[in-house]
Amino acid sequence: MPNSYTDVYFPVLVQALIAMATAAGLLAVSFLLGKRVRNRVKDMPYESGIVPTGDARHRFSVKFYLVAMLFIVFDMEAIFLYPWVVVYRELNSEMKMFPFVEMAVFVFLILAGFFYIWKKGALDWATSDVAERKR
């Protein structure tokens, strides 16, 4: 039985070391065992046999940034829910219904923001068919 904080995390540390060793070993073993033949064509990026024009350091769609920002906003909220979830029964036995109402208000505010961005069209990846027909 583990009897200290160090003991509890000791297997995690060992497992992390083993996992990293495995990952590094996989990279090393193919580097050591694989044969190497280089030529000019093999050193080109693979684009289905077409000679590539330019590299891939281009700008990409702003929608990906939007998804990342929305994720950060809403994931933060999910993290706020976790402590509430863990102490929920304990709080409930002290104050009847109060923890639920409290969090319902919080979730309601979040959902208001959620429906706002939904109506603004931030969740539509492509221009939706409905918007197309209205035009």
Binding site: V8, M20, L33, F71, D75, P99
Partner: protein
């Protein structure tokens, strides 16, 4: 030896055993997947390397490590090498907190059937899987290939979008069990011998929690980039997606990570919703005889087909497999194995059932369109997940 030396020795043994089993399972999961999909499509699948293709994973590994290890000149080298490293090491890390069974006694030493019981186990698994996204994103960006970049962008946007409903549905069973420790989670579902467990104690049957379970499974499919959500590697538009520029074992690393993540997420589904290692009904009513029956039946069928072989090569391999199955069935009857083998069986059976569902879906469903995929996460799963959490809270407050 004093107790703390014992503790470290037992921990190391457990880690080695679990790691060995995990790596074997990873290799054979691929074999099982190929076989199952082959049978769904009415063809035999891998067949020629060993009996029924059982040595195919070994042959694949040997092939992959002897392939040319390309390091293209146009890539960002440190990140290009770091990406498969991050993907594999993070995927293998989560197993350290997954419990496989109750507390047991090994030669008079009391220990858990789990590497370690973190009091924040659920958060640990979530964190490891989140860092795994970096593997995909860095692989695509550092490759400096247009297909790879697009695949990585799609994939990371998809993984972060589906992480939201995933973390919100995980919160619902946590609310019922009121803990972040994976072991306590199972114990509140009837793993504790004090209140002998039945099916109805599982979080899946708590109120309307099966909705949460469905949302969890769908998000889990998307998190592991499996069909129908494998937009990252949509062959017909993106060649191979984020790992287009990877070769030999670096290429295989991403698959290894994907399969390891599949196993972790299936184990999480079992622990959160399906009662972990708890049998579906108490042992007094014969749940302990189920594994015996299953393995004995499998053994008898294999022996029968070995005695009436359809192909000449089955004459030895099938009876041998049948005898192994019968031996396992006998092992479940031995009194000293009851305390640890039965929970292990139920845990593996439930995890295996969910892994089978992963493969089944791959053999059945077509791929999503990208805008539908993102819309589905944000407009359906997210509201359902958050309402599910609130409803669970209300249910617990009113009915306990």
């Amino acid at each position: 030896m004093d107790p703390s030396t014992w503790f470290y020795a037992i921990s190391l043994i457990k880690i080695l055993v679990v790691f060995g089993v995990l790596m074997t399972t990873l290799a054979y999961l691929q074999w099982v997947e190929r076989k199952v999909i082959a049978h769904i499509q009415v063809r035999p699948g891998p067949y020629f390397v060993g009996p029924h293709g059982l040595l195919q994973p070994l042959a694949d590994v040997i092939k992959l490590i002897t392939k040319e290890d390309l390091l293209p000149p146009y890539v960002n080298k440190p990140l290009y090498l770091a990406a498969p490293f991050i993907a594999v090491s993070m995927a293998l890390l989560s197993i350290s907190v997954i419990p496989f069974g109750p507390e047991i006694d090994v030669f008079g030493y009391h220990t858990y059937m789990q590497l370690t019981d973190l009091n924040i186990g659920v958060l640990f698994v979530l964190a490891a899987s989140s860092v795994g996204v970096y593997g995909v994103a860095l692989a695509g960006w550092s490759s400096n290939n247009k297909y790879a970049l697009l695949g990585a962008l799609r994939s990371s946007a998809q993984m972060i979008s589906y992480e939201l409903p995933l973390s919100l549905t995980i919160a619902a069973p946590l609310l019922i069990s009121n803990t972040l420790s994976l072991r306590k989670l199972v114990e509140t579902q009837g793993g504790n011998p004090a209140h002998a467990g039945t099916l109805w104690n599982w979080n899946l049957f708590h109120g309307w929690q099966w909705i949460g379970f469905l949302v969890f499974l769908i998000s889990a499919f998307a998190e592991t980039n499996r069909i129908p959500f494998d937009l990252a590697e949509a062959e017909n538009e993106l060649v191979a997606g984020f790992h287009t520029e990877y070769s030999s074992m670096k290429f295989a690393s991403f698959f290894m990570a994907e399969y390891a993540n599949m196993i972790t997420v299936s184990a999480m589904a079992v622990l959160l919703f399906l009662g972990g290692w708890v049998a579906p009904w108490p042992a007094e009513y014969g749940s302990g005889l189920v594994p015996v029956a299953v393995f004995a039946l499998a053994g008898l069928i294999a022996v029968y087909h070995g005695l009436h072989p359809a192909r000449r090569r089955d004459r030895f391999s099938l009876p041998a497999a049948g005898l192994v199955f019968l031996f396992i069935a006998a092992a479940f009857l031995a009194p000293f194995t009851q305390s640890w083998l039965l929970p292990l069986f139920w845990f593996c059976a439930k995890t295996g059932a969910i892994l089978f569902a992963f493969i089944w879906v791959r053999g059945t469903l077509p791929r999503f369109r990208y805008d539908q995929l993102m819309g589905f996460a944000w407009k359906y799963l997210f509201p359902v997940a958050i309402v599910n959490l609130l409803a669970t809270g209300l249910g617990v407050a009113l009915f306990g």
